[in-house]
């Protein structure tokens, strides 16, 4: 174990963090912090746990695992999801795998190495204490999931198999064919349903959270809409946990499920929870390109494909119209191998994505609109045989063919980057508590562990770490030392939140000049965000977005057309409510990107790059978490800073050459 060294005190680091943003991270040797903290935390008497009602919003890896574990501990849990079953949560779509520092391959992995890789991969914009805890817990997650019956891939000897993933130099990724997220989610779902049967968790499916109830400065409940009957309901509890996922759908086209939205987080933000680093969005390099303007979502192809596929475009613009087989080997530019010889096709996601954009901007992109690059398995099939490739990627190849009608065994795939994950989210301290006491945020919905860029196979790890292993402790600590008044739905704050929800629904249903569908507004917002706040951002572009989004928002409230009523199953109304919040959130995301005058991780500002065209961080000025305070619609939000110290992993420029 390496010892701590002097914190890298830059001028930003020397400045104090905002008093609102106390990380509450323990001090002392980093490998002992979580153990020490667990011991220091207060416990709730076992007989008292059932007297506490915990409201869990979201039922994915974080929410599902958290609800199951809290229920198992004896808390009285109410869990909400917008789908018809908790088993549908979007965690299910993760393909590639889950990292854990087990070192089962004896290839030099360790908790410290996973910690180091994650801090560095996040471009030095994450909190060291949190990341170290994540790496520590990673090993317990695998044990837990195997015990639940998650059928991870195995070797013939019966031991668990691993693969290297997303640029890691060790094989630490556990996987279940191309359906790792599905199998992990079903494990959490089954644990959750076991608690439903046991009576500790009550599930509310097809329910959408429309507001947060804050009483005496503490989160005490939520307002929901029953998506079948339209009934507005108030639920009061002792604490609220959000495991509601990311905001990638602000871009309209993303790899997220259609229903993913920012509403729960955004409503909490409007009630006082600071929103951190919204400009950190991850663009996944290997997605299927757009085929037409009716496109409703983008489909991701697991990045494991880059282990064997070679990325290229024609060297010359003149060749882009040719079929790949007409382009001779000498006329192909394997640009990742050329620019990054030691990592080649396995460079991190942000670099792979940006490089694809660069070659397409140069006019060398392939396919409709010139927005695509080849991912070619020709050499791998020659080297390993078709059977081996089919064994590794068969289901992905089938999926590709089903969507595009092209056969990747015979012709290279075409891929293009797409929004996939959002590192930003509600600000939380070490206990995963937001700036509203009693409101906890877990999984992708919080900002915590990935800094400015998430490594492959780390999302599943973080969701389950938060849900199974962190929130059950930290929530108990909060409840044990907090005295809460007894309140119910008749409290003035609850009534106020409920009536605001009703008014908003009426407003959505009764725009003065209804003429444009919610989907049309969403597409327009998405395109604006993708153009101005996507893979490469500029001051001018972001200023334009910050100017245009409020105009679009105004047009929305004036002319959104929603058919039907609020008292029935009304998918167009659901969509309108989500788009309305994206129209506020999108502005904040662009403002954050505008203020961050550096390039780091998923945030690339064209003005700030090294002479070689790589991201140029500015640690002097921006080594902090930027957390925004809501001041009202159209009012400039206030920026608060949590300064980041790096005691163990020294900030350096990421180099993958």
């Amino acid at each position: 174990m390496q010892g701590p060294s002097t914190p890298s005190s830059t001028s930003a680091a020397a400045a104090a963090s905002s008093p609102l943003l106390k990380s509450n991270a323990p001090t002392g040797p980093i490998e002992q912090r979580w153990d020490k903290h667990r011991f220091d935390m207060k416990l709730v008497n076992p007989a008292n746990k059932r007297k506490y009602k915990v409201i869990m919003v979201g039922s994915g890896l974080a929410g599902g695992a958290g609800a199951a574990t809290l229920g198992e501990l004896g808390y009285n849990v109410e869990c909400f999801c917008y789908q018809d079953s908790p088993r549908r949560a979007h965690s299910i779509a993760a393909q590639g795998g889950i990292n854990a520092a087990k070192n089962y391959q004896n290839d030099g992995d360790s908790i410290y190495r996973l910690f180091y890789d994650t801090v560095k991969g996040g471009d030095f914009r994450a909190r060291e204490s949190n990341v170290y805890r994540l790496a520590q817990i990673s090993v317990n997650i695998i044990d837990q999931c195997v015990a639940q019956g998650v059928p991870f891939a195995r070797e013939y000897g019966g031991l668990l198999d691993n693969r290297s993933f997303g640029g890691a130099q060790v094989s630490r990724t556990f996987y279940a064919r191309g359906q790792t997220g599905q199998q992990l989610l079903l494990g959490a779902y089954q644990a959750l349903e076991r608690q439903v049967e046991a009576g500790t968790v009550k599930m509310h499916t097809r329910s959408e959270m429309l507001d947060l109830i804050v009483i005496d400065g503490r989160a005490r409940g939520i307002v929901t809409r029953d998506m079948v009957t339209g009934k507005i309901e108030t639920h009061i509890g002792d604490a609220v946990v959000l495991g509601t996922g990311g905001y990638g759908n602000v871009f309209y086209l993303s790899t997220n499920a259609k229903g993913c939205n920012v509403m729960a987080s955004w409503r909490a933000h409007r009630r006082g929870a600071l929103f951190a680093n919204p400009c950190y969005t991850q663009i996944h390099p290997t997605c299927i390109p757009v085929s037409g303007d009716y496109q409703s979502k983008l489909t991701l192809m697991s990045e494991s494909l880059r282990n064997d596929g070679r990325v290229w475009v024609p060297k010359s613009k003149a060749d882009v119209g040719k079929t790949p087989s007409q382009i001779a080997e000498a006329d192909r530019d394997y640009y990742l191998e050329r620019k990054y010889p030691s990592f080649g096709n396995l460079v991190p996601r942000d670099i792979a994505s940006r490089s694809a954009k660069e070659v397409c901007d140069e006019g060398r992109g392939v396919g409709p609109g010139g927005l695509g690059v080849y991912l070619d398995f020709g050499d791998a099939i020659k080297r390993l045989g078709k059977d081996k490739i089919a064994e590794r990627y068969g289901n992905l190849f089938e999926m590709y063919q089903r969507i595009t009608d092209d056969n990747p065994y015979e012709t290279p795939m075409r891929i293009y980057p797409a929004i996939h994950y959002t590192m930003g989210g509600l600000w939380v301290d070490y206990n995963l508590q937001s700036t509203i006491p009693g409101l906890f945020v877990i999984g992708e919905a919080n900002f915590s562990d990935h800094g400015a860029n998430r490594l492959g196979a780390s999302a599943l790890m973080q969701g389950l770490a938060d849900g199974y292993f962190i929130i059950p402790y930290t929530l108990g600590n909060y409840l044990a030392q907090t005295k809460l008044d007894k309140v119910d739905g008749s409290h003035a704050e609850a009534q106020k939140a409920e009536s605001e929800v009703r008014e908003r629904i009426q407003k959505l249903l009764n725009a003065p000049n209804p003429s444009k569908t919610p989907d049309a507004f969403h597409r327009e917002l998405g395109k604006l965000c993708w153009d101005k706040c996507g893979m490469a951002r500029t001051k001018e572009g972001l200023e334009e977005a910050v100017r245009r989004i409020p105009q679009l928002r105004e047009e929305f409230w004036n002319s959104v057309k929603v058919v039907g009523t609020g008292d029935e199953l009304n998918q167009s109304l659901e969509m309108a409510g989500r788009v309305a919040d994206f129209l506020e959130f999108g502005e904040l995301m662009c403002r954050d990107a505008l203020h961050r005058e550096e390039s780091c991780g998923g945030h690339f500002r064209l003005e700030y790059q090294t002479p070689e065209g790589e991201a140029a961080r500015d640690d002097e000025k921006f080594q902090y978490v930027g957390a925004w305070e809501w001041k009202g619609v159209g009012v400039t939000p206030i920026l608060h800073k949590e300064v980041l110290d790096f005691e163990y992993v020294h900030p350096s420029q990421r180099s993958y050459k």
Binding site: Q179, G181, E193, S296
Partner: protein, 266 residues
């Protein structure tokens, strides 16, 4: 893409419209022009819905979410076939190139006693969750598991477990079955956990309780039509039903009460 760009199709739809669970439904005919062969089936419905909203008509309600064939939320009966004509494919992954210009398509919700229609093409599948609640899990407390590599599991057992675990819970098996049976769904979970050592202690109890819940929900019995297997987007084999039946018989005849007998390997 595949030379389809530019060509469009005209499709005639007969769609089941039903305002809510109480009112009666009926088929309504829609003409959908300018359909691109590269559209997914649900994107075709999106386009139709946008047009309906513009006309001031209620859009067609249908369930969907991930649109990449894994969440199990979508599912339509298309010309009498659950998830439509393409094998091993969910509705969201079906593309319009599977149809011809001028085709007439009948679109219905899953029809089964245990899946009441909520609106249009949306049905209530909560019965599936209740079957899982009856025993579709391994009872293990969070944080108490031993090292994952302490128990070696033969690759063929892990693979067999995975094949069953791939079920997405969409309900196509029920919709396709003339008896409205959820045997394939229930068997997939029993078989997934039954193939693994972790699942053995509760194996008999699980089989007995899950099938009891299955029957209580109003799903019918399996009479080996194999329609379920034919439409399953994840190609779950009916061999799992055989395994389930064996476990159920053992559980009800040999294993008394909660006496924990492991069923032995398949």
């Amino acid at each position: 893409m595949s030379g389809n760009s530019g060509k469009t199709m005209h499709i005639k739809l007969q769609v089941w419209r039903q305002k809510n669970a109480q009112e009666k439904g009926a088929f309504v005919t829609y003409d959908v022009s300018d359909v691109s062969p590269d559209m997914s089936f649900l994107e075709m419905l999106d386009v139709l819905n946008e047009r309906l909203i513009h006309k001031g008509e209620a859009p067609i309600a249908f369930d969907h979410d991930c649109r990449e064939g894994i969440c199990g939320m979508c599912g339509l009966m298309i010309n009498g076939v659950a998830h439509g004509p393409m094998a091993a494919t969910t509705t969201c992954q079906l593309h319009m190139r599977s149809f011809k210009d001028g085709d007439e398509l009948i679109i219905e919700p899953w029809r089964a006693r245990a899946f009441p229609v909520l609106r249009d093409l949306v049905v209530d599948r909560a019965a599936f969750d209740r079957i899982i609640q009856a025993g579709g899990y391994v009872s293990v407390r969070t944080g108490t598991a031993r090292d994952a590599n302490e128990t070696r599991i033969a690759k063929q057992d892990a693979d067999a477990a995975f094949d069953a675990a791939a079920c997405i819970g969409c309900g196509a098996c029920v919709a396709a079955c003339p008896n409205g049976s959820a045997s394939l769904f229930t068997a997939a979970k029993i078989s997934h956990l039954g193939h693994l050592p972790q699942g053995q202690p509760e194996r008999m109890r699980r089989a007995r309780n899950m099938i009891a819940q299955h029957d209580k929900e109003g799903f019918g019995a399996c009479s080996n039509h194999r329609e379920c297997e034919a439409v399953c987007p994840k190609q779950i084999s009916i061999a799992n039903i055989a395994m389930m039946n064996r476990d159920v018989i053992r559980a009800t005849t040999i294993a008394e009460d909660d006496k924990q007998t492991s069923g032995g390997g398949m």
